[in-house]
Symmetry: C2
Subunit: 262 residues, 2 copies
DNA sequence: AAGATATCAAAGATGATATCTTTCTCCTGC
DNA sequence: GCAGGAGAAAGATATCATCTTTGATATCTT
């Protein structure tokens, strides 16, 4: 399929890169999937970069020689995959998106849900990620990371009697540890798993548990600052195991409250 | 799932923010995103399960009181997110999909690419996943898993001189180890990361390296059969570190061939 | 003759196009 | 600053094309 040049834009738009590569359509002979494939491949081939202007619906339709609906279908798919962002209004249109971990997290949540993965499995995977992140954080964390962790600890301490706020702060602390690992792949995966595993309410969080959690977090931050990777990993391992036990118990209770089996 | 009967009388737009906070509104609440949200929420609420029939485009359009275009937009998005599968023809329509790890893997690949995550980061995350998977495999693997691993080892041995085939077989072995862990969350994440990290060609795979890889795989399978979690983890750790070194070197070479920085 | 199989045509569903109105944004001209 | 115009997506409607299932018919086999 040939991309038509279709020079219709007034001013010079150097962003208009034609996707010359003829890529084997996956197995779907629909026009919209061909467009999706071409754009995604152009992205992987670095012909397109985040922020690049892709064009309006009409532009794409003309460029690929298809109707506006087909371009629209392609944009819907690209948007759902987080590849493009679409703005309405004058000067709007489709642009290559910046990374959006949230979209990805939802994709993982959907897949895990569809596959019927249990809470125990998720927490176990999370443990693998978080332990590694803690270890790396003890190696790679910068002074800013240390400050960030200390700040979050102070924040949590102030909110220790407010269960929802403490839960959020705690959540942030775990994410901050992952960020301190300076490995974005780990971070993205943790975000995804937390999106599935982290409860909005935290029914078993008693003041006593909260105090214990905070103490562990403080120890963890200290180990990271002391650059003790093995210690940080070990502590995180125990910590996540404890969280897992509580989470699995909650899940079982919730399940048995609604229906018998789980 | 509530269908909104309100056919769009242009003047009347009653609710502009019907969504709570835990639901993530993608953009301005377009009709199609509302449908997407409802379907996804129904999925999470277990009102919809894989295989359930969702309806045809026309069905959805009537049920939600919108035009076919809107229903189509929603289905495009749901399809891209792997939530539904769409078949054409009589008896066709949209059904809730079974889990599809490939879609998810592509989503991760896109996100990591957009975020500019380096090969080293990806391999490091992969190491965390694979080490944990190896450990769990040594605990949870069944006799079938053991047989599967042995079969793949024999397969790889037969193909040791055929670089692409050996690479594929090797790839399968790693996946089989993750499957033997019986943790689908780990498996899905590994699939995603491999989708990004595993090269189609394997330029640095010399016969000598292949032999070494096969030996390590054999040792690993043995440790899993012997139910030695710590040993399996340690071996996998070393193994992935070796792979990482090669992969990062390849990436650097490829990068410097095209452009200076990376 | 009963059952299995092959073939063909109709129905149903998506794929795709064209054209239109509406609504939302940005930008420009006061 | 503010109102209005222009650009662009959102949405609606109608229509045709293409693909697939499905059911009916016909033929072959037992």
């Amino acid at each position: 399929m040939a991309a038509k040049p279709a020079r219709s834009s007034p001013a010079s738009r150097p962003e208009r890169k034609p996707f010359g590569r003829n890529v084997i359509a996956f197995r779907s002979p629909t026009l919209s999937t061909q467009i999706v494939t071409q754009v995604r491949d152009a992205l992987f081939a670095k012909e397109l970069r985040p922020g690049d202007f892709l064009g309006t619906e009409k532009d794409l339709a003309e460029r690929f020689g298809v109707s506006r609906i087909v371009a629209r279908d392609a944009l819907r798919t690209l948007e759902a995959q987080g590849i493009v962002e679409i703005k309405v209004g004058s000067g709007g249109g489709a642009r290559i998106a910046k990374g959006n971990a949230r979209l990805f997290a939802e994709a993982l949540a959907v897949q895990l849900d569809l596959a019927g993965v249990t809470a125990a499995e998720i927490m176990d995977a999370q443990r693998a990620i978080e332990c590694h992140a803690a270890e790396l954080a003890a190696i790679n964390a910068t002074a800013e990371d240390h400050a960030r962790l200390r700040g979050l600890l102070a924040d949590a301490e102030a909110k220790i009697d407010d269960v929802p706020a403490f839960t959020r702060s705690s959540h942030e602390f775990h994410l901050a540890v992952a960020e301190a690992s300076h490995n974005r792949a780990l971070l993205v995966q943790l975000i995804s798993l937390q999106h599935v595993s982290w409860p909005s309410q935290n029914p078993t969080l008693t003041p006593r548990v909260a105090r214990h959690v905070l103490d562990v977090h403080k120890q963890l931050a200290a180990l990271i600052e002391m650059r003790d990777p093995a210690g940080a990993r070990r502590l995180m391992d125990d910590h996540v195991k404890m969280i897992t036990a509580r989470r699995v118990a909650e899940h079982r209770d919730k399940g048995s409250a609604k229906r018998d089996c789980c």
